[in-house]
């Protein structure tokens, strides 16, 4: 492997690994706060699945702890979607629906290929299918539930919509058919939203800022606070172990 292909593979592993790590941390924030105990366990389960994926991916890019705990905000390559605050439960579910549908399509394609991510993708796609099912079940119940739950679910799908376009930007080293993925994603998410008596939001699917977004290290306001909380223990006690 030449230096440049290995650098590409490292950058790609960082992008995918950061997605999993950051979303895992966000879901972990529900611990102790979820609407019901059963749902808290479900979200923690999903968070742990994602953390396992993050560990494998970040280890492909370097030392996992160093990468997770010692990088500055601008060095993170995750999508802005996954760093969005949990908001109310509907926001968390909308974020899950958008991301897990994308991640299932991504891993399905990667698993069929021969690239460095094929083994991980083949294993993780089963986890992600469950994440998607979980998000779908809740989207249906909140969207087609009470007036209040419908309104909150609608608000959440619309608020997060502008972060969805970034998922289909090409990432060097992640060899997938992005256009095919976008079409399949729109069909799948659109179908769930329709059954939930909602509709695909109509606004733009990405921000107007041409400098790029999460994949270029540009993050939204709340990400710094999340990172500070995630990293402070390791930074306060470097090298500490259980």
């Amino acid at each position: 492997m030449t230096a440049s292909t290995s650098e590409t593979a490292t950058a790609a592993a960082l992008a995918l690994g950061d997605d999993a790590l950051v979303l895992s941390h966000r879901l972990g924030e529900w611990a102790g706060h979820a609407p019901v105990l059963e749902e808290e366990v479900a979200l923690a389960n999903i968070a742990l699945d994602l953390l396992g994926q993050a560990r494998i991916l970040l280890s492909m890019a370097g030392d996992e702890d160093e990468l997770a705990y010692l990088r500055e905000e601008r060095a993170f390559r995750n999508l802005q979607l996954v760093e969005q605050p949990n908001g109310d439960f509907a926001h968390t579910i909308a974020r899950q629906l958008y991301f897990s549908t994308y991640q299932r399509l991504l891993y399905t394609q990667l698993a069929e290929g021969t690239g460095p991510f094929a083994p991980l993708a083949a294993k993780a796609v089963k986890e992600v299918e469950y994440h998607q099912d979980h998000a779908e079940q809740w989207t249906l119940r909140l969207g087609d539930g009470t007036d209040l739950s419908h309104e909150r679910m609608r608000r959440a799908t619309e608020a997060l919509w502008r972060f969805t376009g970034e998922m289909f930007q090409p990432v060097e080293g992640v060899d997938v058919d992005r256009e095919g993925m976008r079409a399949a994603w729109l069909e799948s998410v659109g179908d769930v939203l329709r059954r939930a008596t909602l509709a695909l939001p109509e606004g733009p699917a990405s921000g107007a800022w041409r400098a790029g977004a999460g994949r270029q290290g540009l993050h939204t306001e709340s990400f710094g606070r999340m990172l500070a909380e995630m990293q402070h223990l390791h930074r306060s006690h470097p090298g500490a172990t259980w």
């Binding site: 609407p35 019901v36 105990l37 059963e38 749902e39 366990v41 479900a42 389960n45 099912d133 979980h134 079940q137 119940r141 739950s149």
Partner: protein, 95 residues
């Protein structure tokens, strides 16, 4: 949306093919589909199961503790009802 609004469900898990479903515990869920998923997350996350049943707790009729004596006491002193006089062939499991 509070737990108080959600009915209670009893969870039965089959740990392996060939064994019967065993009561694993109970949980709250708004409907059967989500009860099944909650059960998966609560009771099978360490590979404990290959099949799950969920049953509304309200659908279960239980024997009353007050009737314990007439129900169970008479069976206690009839050892001839127990199949302890057979030899079990080697290699038979789960008996």
């Amino acid at each position: 949306m509070t737990t108080n609004d959600w009915p209670l469900w009893e969870v039965f898990v089959r740990s392996r093919r060939g064994l019967s479903h065993t009561h694993a515990g109970s949980l709250h869920a708004p409907d059967a589909e989500l009860a099944l998923r909650n059960a998966r997350d609560l009771y099978t996350r360490r590979g404990e199961g290959v099949s799950i049943w969920v049953v509304p707790s309200a659908a279960i009729t239980a024997s009353s503790p007050d009737e314990k004596d007439p129900f169970f006491e008479p069976a206690a002193d009839k050892p001839y009802r127990h199949p302890t006089f057979y030899e079990i062939p080697e290699g038979v499991k789960h008996l």
